[in-house]
């Protein structure tokens, strides 16, 4: 009983939310509803319901639902029909046609239109029929979907009647599966049920699987076998889709790792500087995004959707500036002493974390998603969220730009020159210390950009950077130091392997397995996947 009630509530909600303010047949509907005021006895009330169905106006579902709930009442003074909310001495009156509040009244001045169980069923079928035959195909579609999600043998006739009139192919398909689903629970003939099993199975979704398993428990003989076979097929296909889904999650994780690690691929990979404060550059980028959004929220709320594009250059600059300060202030005194650099930059990272904690507070900061990054879409049986998709695309774009910058620009050329042979480069007039600072600023700036993207999917807190630093180093080391492509492949393969392992091992154990695998891998190939072999001098 409750299930059916909620089903109706769903339908009503769907229909009402789908209603636009068109007032074509207001009068006709109002006239038909007025019939409730004069109807005497259950039979006449039934006739009024039928009249409403014939009218075919989906707004009648509001009235019918209220009738089923016992909320439809007649004002005894003038015979006006209203939906009533509230049960106190004074109740709110709602216009049955447009749903507007139509004033208040004393509870005693209204007469309830009574219904019995038989009428309630009539009401329910009428609502189903009304929505299934609504003029708007979107409403009909949603009605069909709702029915599929809550299959109801009693709605079979309504849906079959609707199917006969249905012309829209999409809606037809929806109704057919809704009918099949309802039919499975009905007492129709085995032949029809067998057909319905086929129709439901063809969907291949998790819901179809649920329906079939529900059906299978009650089925016997050939039908049960058929259902079992269909379930097996669906399970197989779902398993493949779930692998695809995990693969997608893996790519998404990989893109996050790539974003976090790619700046490091420059500072560590190209310059050989171990920057343990790299994660804090990411954090600075994320907090820049937060600050930008705060300013926009206060002074120009209309620009909120543009907050990320605005934050990107600012985050780059902020992180690049901090990076350059670190390079000039600390790291340049430690070139050629990687272990000391590691310790000093760790110290810097502690200072940056505490600085952010002092300025912005220790708790998580809310960074909102712009509207164009919210939501998700389905691809087959996969769910893809827009923000993850954008982050993947963004990571690829950053990678491409960086690859171009390193290989095609003057700065990139000079950077590579300085790292390969510092003295020679200086002799050719390249200002090596300047290039060091610029390279480090570039790597840090890219980390800042990563922070903008990561602020969309992660908590913006002073610990944000810490959670990425180990992963980032592992990605760079795994991919091969000094090789941007290695970083890309490293990030993506670690992401995918991690997510493919997760269903079997669980999230934490999967992560541990990955760490252990990398530890073994580094021992096997200490210079990474794409390492350059060369004449080993006296290393």
């Amino acid at each position: 009983m409750r299930r059916i009630a909620s089903f109706i509530a769903c339908l009503v909600f769907l229909v009402l939310s789908g209603l636009s303010a068109r007032a074509q047949d207001d009068e006709a509907l109002r006239g038909a509803v007025a019939g409730f005021a004069t109807a005497e006895g259950f039979q006449q009330i039934g006739a009024v319901i039928d009249a409403l169905v014939v009218l075919g106006d989906p707004r009648a579902t509001r009235v019918l639902a209220a009738l089923g709930e016992g909320d439809l009442k007649v004002r005894e003074a003038d015979g006006g029909v209203f939906i009533v909310r509230g049960s106190a001495a004074s109740v709110r009156l709602i216009d049955p046609v447009n749903g507007d509040t139509a004033g208040e009244a004393g509870g005693a001045s209204l007469k309830k239109i009574r219904v019995n169980n038989r009428l309630r069923r009539t009401v329910r079928d009428a609502i189903g029929a009304l929505t299934l035959t609504a003029a708007d195909p979107a409403v009909r579609m949603r009605a069909a979907e709702t029915l599929f999600a809550n299959p109801d043998p009693d709605a079979l006739e309504a849906v079959e009647a609707a199917l006969e009139r249905e012309t829209n192919a999409d809606v037809r398909r929806g109704m057919e599966v809704a009918r099949a689903a309802s039919l499975l629970l009905s007492d129709r003939s085995n032949a029809e049920k067998s057909e319905a099993v086929g129709a439901v199975a063809a969907l291949g979704t998790r819901e179809a699987l649920g329906l079939l398993s529900q059906f299978r428990t009650g089925a016997t003989g050939a039908l049960e076998l058929q259902a079992a076979a269909a379930m097996e097929r669906i399970e197989g296909s779902l398993a493949r889709w779930s692998i695809a889904q995990n693969f997608w999650y893996g790519l998404s994780l990989g893109s996050v790792l790539l974003l976090a690690a790619i700046g490091l691929a420059i500072t560590f990979g190209v310059m050989g500087v171990i920057n343990m404060a790299h994660g804090e550059m990411v954090m600075i980028g994320a907090y820049t995004t937060f600050a930008v959004q705060e300013v926009i929220r206060r002074s120009a709320p209309g620009l909120l959707d543009w907050s990320l594009p605005i934050a990107l250059p600012l985050a780059f600059l902020a992180a690049a500036l901090v990076g350059m300060l670190i390079e000039r202030g600390v790291i340049r005194f430690l070139y050629g002493r990687p272990l000391e650099t590691l310790l000093a930059t760790w110290g810097v990272s502690l200072i940056l974390q505490q600085a952010v904690r002092s300025i912005f507070g220790p708790s998580n900061r809310e960074v909102s998603n712009p509207s164009w990054m919210s939501g998700a879409f389905e691809l087959g049986q996969m769910m893809i969220t827009w923000n993850r998709l954008y982050i993947l695309l963004f990571a690829m774009a950053v990678f491409a730009v960086l690859l171009w910058a390193m290989n095609r620009t003057m700065l990139g050329l000079q950077m590579r020159a300085v790292t390969q042979n510092r003295r020679m480069a200086s002799a050719m007039g390249i200002r090596a210390p300047w290039i060091d600072a610029m390279t480090f600023a570039l790597g840090s700036g890219v980390a800042g950009i990563a922070g903008v993207a990561l602020s969309q999917i992660d908590n913006v807190s002073p610990n944000l950077g810490q959670s990425y630093i180990i992963d980032s180093f592992l990605v760079v080391v795994f991919g091969g130091v000094g090789n941007l492509w290695g970083t890309l492949v490293g990030a993506m393969s670690l992401g995918v392997v991690n997510k493919l392992l997760e269903p079997y091992a669980g999230a934490v154990l999967g992560k541990i397995l990955i760490l252990v695998l990398i530890i073994f891998f580094i021992q096997k190939r200490p210079r990474g996947l794409f390492a350059l072999r060369g004449r080993a001098v006296e290393a």
Partner: protein
């Protein structure tokens, strides 16, 4: 045996002084705590005993790190893991000693297992009701892990920063693992609510004093062992491996074995430090595996002066005393201070406190100068 031979050879004067100092502290603090009335000027309050005891464990841990980093050139960023493993081994013993006095009153299972509806003790918890077994595990588990890890890493010639990063990954992986409830080590909460150790209450003043004395004596032993190792012919080889690994290889040595030995011994020392730490602080949880802890420990050693035996002890005491003061007086400034310390030590004090003082001690200064210069050369080569 090493120590015996070493003692025959005579102790370095500084080591002897250090040992004497540690041992006198081992006697003085417990005595002053137990025998003098709280009003007496020489009375050491209970909280100070616990705090100082903790510092001594940290000092042993820093010394262990120094053995591999200062003397053998392996910067381990995962030594906190060995410390924590030793701590967990001791924690398991202490959990088993609770017996049926837990909240759920189960005669055998620790509370958290009852809470998780476990029916019986996991196999790896067996034996921990015996102190000798737990004590064995305190050194065996970190030792075995270090041996296995080092065997792979050093044989594959993973060195320098790469080694540092994978040791960090190791402790990180262990942290994640110990956070899991089904690992059977109490998950997030770790092991706590200890009652007895060797039949006496861990809370009793006498026990605390004894634990303090044990910490000091153990530290003294650690100093003795480290001095024996570094003073031997092998110790010279360790330094040679630190300064020019390839050279030792082409002289026919196997530096991977040298490192493996140092790493394993060091891990065992760290394990002992952890085991003494746990009954004094009353808890061990996965947070001890946090990579940040291991790095912080590196700075103790660096501040005191790596490559010396006294340095890490001084460093651990100074930094931790500073931490206690800061977190009490100016908590929000502690991370600034610690971070600044990392930067300042690497930039301005590469030899640490002991190295600075040694500058005014002509006999030693040449050696430390040479060491620092050698470090620079070695790292340029790396």
């Amino acid at each position: 045996m090493i120590a015996a031979r070493f003692l025959q050879g005579g102790l370095d004067r500084r080591i002897a002084v250090t040992l004497a100092l540690i041992l006198s502290v081992a006697i003085f603090v417990p005595v002053a705590n137990l025998l003098f009335a709280p009003s007496h000027p020489l009375h050491v309050p209970n909280y100070a005993v616990a705090l100082l005891g903790k510092y001594l464990n940290y000092a042993l841990l820093a010394l262990a790190l120094d053995l591999v980093w200062g003397f053998c050139g392996i910067l381990s960023l995962g030594h906190g893991a060995f410390f924590a493993l030793g701590g967990y081994a001791m924690g398991m013993y202490l959990m088993r000693q609770i017996g049926s006095r837990g909240v759920y009153g189960h005669p055998e299972l620790p509370d958290f297992m009852v809470f998780l509806n476990w029916k019986e003790l996991p196999w790896y918890w067996h034996g921990f009701d015996q102190f000798w077994f737990a004590a064995l595990m305190v050194v065996a588990v970190p030792g075995l892990l270090a041996f296995a890890f080092g065997w792979f890493a050093f044989r594959s010639r993973v060195t320098g920063v790469y080694l540092s990063i994978i040791t960090q990954a190791m402790t990180y992986a262990l942290m994640l693992a110990f956070f899991r409830n089904d690992m059977g080590f109490g998950g997030n909460n770790g092991l706590t609510d200890f009652k007895d150790i060797l039949g006496v209450s861990v809370q009793a003043d006498e026990t605390r004093a004894a634990l303090f004395a044990a910490s000091a004596v153990t530290l003294a032993l650690g100093v003795l062992i480290t001095a024996a190792i570094t003073g031997s012919h092998f110790g010279k080889l360790m330094i040679a491996v630190r300064d020019a690994e390839a050279r030792t290889r082409f002289l026919g040595y196997r530096p991977e074995r040298v490192k493996l030995f140092a790493f394993t011994v060091s891990a065992m020392m760290a394990g002992v430090a952890g085991a003494l730490y746990v009954p004094q602080v009353g808890i061990i949880n996965p947070g001890e595996f946090a990579p940040a802890n291991s790095i912080e420990l590196v700075v103790w050693t660096a501040v005191g002066g790596r490559g010396t035996i006294i340095g890490p002890i001084v460093g651990a005491l100074v930094v931790n005393a500073g931490k206690s003061w800061f977190t009490g007086a100016l908590p929000e400034l502690w991370l600034f201070a610690l971070g600044g310390l990392f930067v300042a030590v690497t930039l301005f004090m590469p030899k640490g406190i002991v190295g600075m003082i040694s500058r005014h001690w002509p006999k030693r200064s040449r050696a430390t100068d040479a060491k620092v210069r050698a470090d620079a050369v070695r790292e340029q080569n790396a």
